[in-house]
Symmetry: C2
Subunit: 123 residues, 2 copies
């Protein structure tokens, strides 16, 4: 089931127009009509992309208004992130940087401070 979801999610994300739609939705929910404007595409063509994004769990469409606003859905993006997690050590230097930062913070805690500081006044 997870495999099927990742199949459709990655497949949906392989199209630049669909990624551009997501980039627009990251700014806030909007209508199909508004989404179609910058793409110079017909409404049916945009609707087709939205259906693929919706089936892939990347967007959700409201039922509360007649214009059915589209918005980003978090689940599929989270699945991609979870998948990517297994490969993070191959590319991510920020883990090392975070580790350094935590070590520095912990070094400032009581009990781990440099005791030599107490004797500085004796000189």
């Amino acid at each position: 089931m997870v495999t099927l979801t990742l199949d459709s999610t990655f497949s949906a994300l392989s199209d630049p127009t669909r990624r551009a739609i997501l980039a627009r939705l990251a700014l806030g929910e909007t209508s199909v009509k508004e989404l179609a404007k910058p793409f110079a595409m017909s409404l049916p063509a945009v609707s087709k992309h939205l259906k693929i994004l919706e089936r892939a769990g990347l967007i959700a469409r409201g039922r509360e208004a007649q214009w059915r606003p589209c918005r980003i859905a978090p689940r599929a993006l989270k699945d991609v992130d979870d998948w990517l997690q297994h490969y993070r050590r191959f590319f991510d230097e920020s883990f090392d940087r975070l580790d350094d930062y935590l070590k520095k913070l912990q070094a400032k805690q009581p009990g781990t401070e440099n005791k030599d500081d107490e004797h500085d006044g004796d000189k």
Copy 2:
């Protein structure tokens, strides 16, 4: 250019066999012959998947040995992570958890401790 790369990367990742090949390569570099074993596929079929992964920048193949070992290439995975970064706030609770953890660590530092603890012995 980035768009083209993400197109081919996401497209390559939409296939479960190719994701399984990456999962195997995450354990270490190996030959096409070894990669083919668990899949009950012909060597040409596996080679075809490897070519797609290689063109998408997801794997690299060594030239140093006759068996041309395959290994994970970090660049395309990093591109996916960079892309995902723009959407992280929609799904990532770990940012909040990390923030809580850092606050707790900082609360244990000298000067920020709860001074009420000193009066507990008076009761």
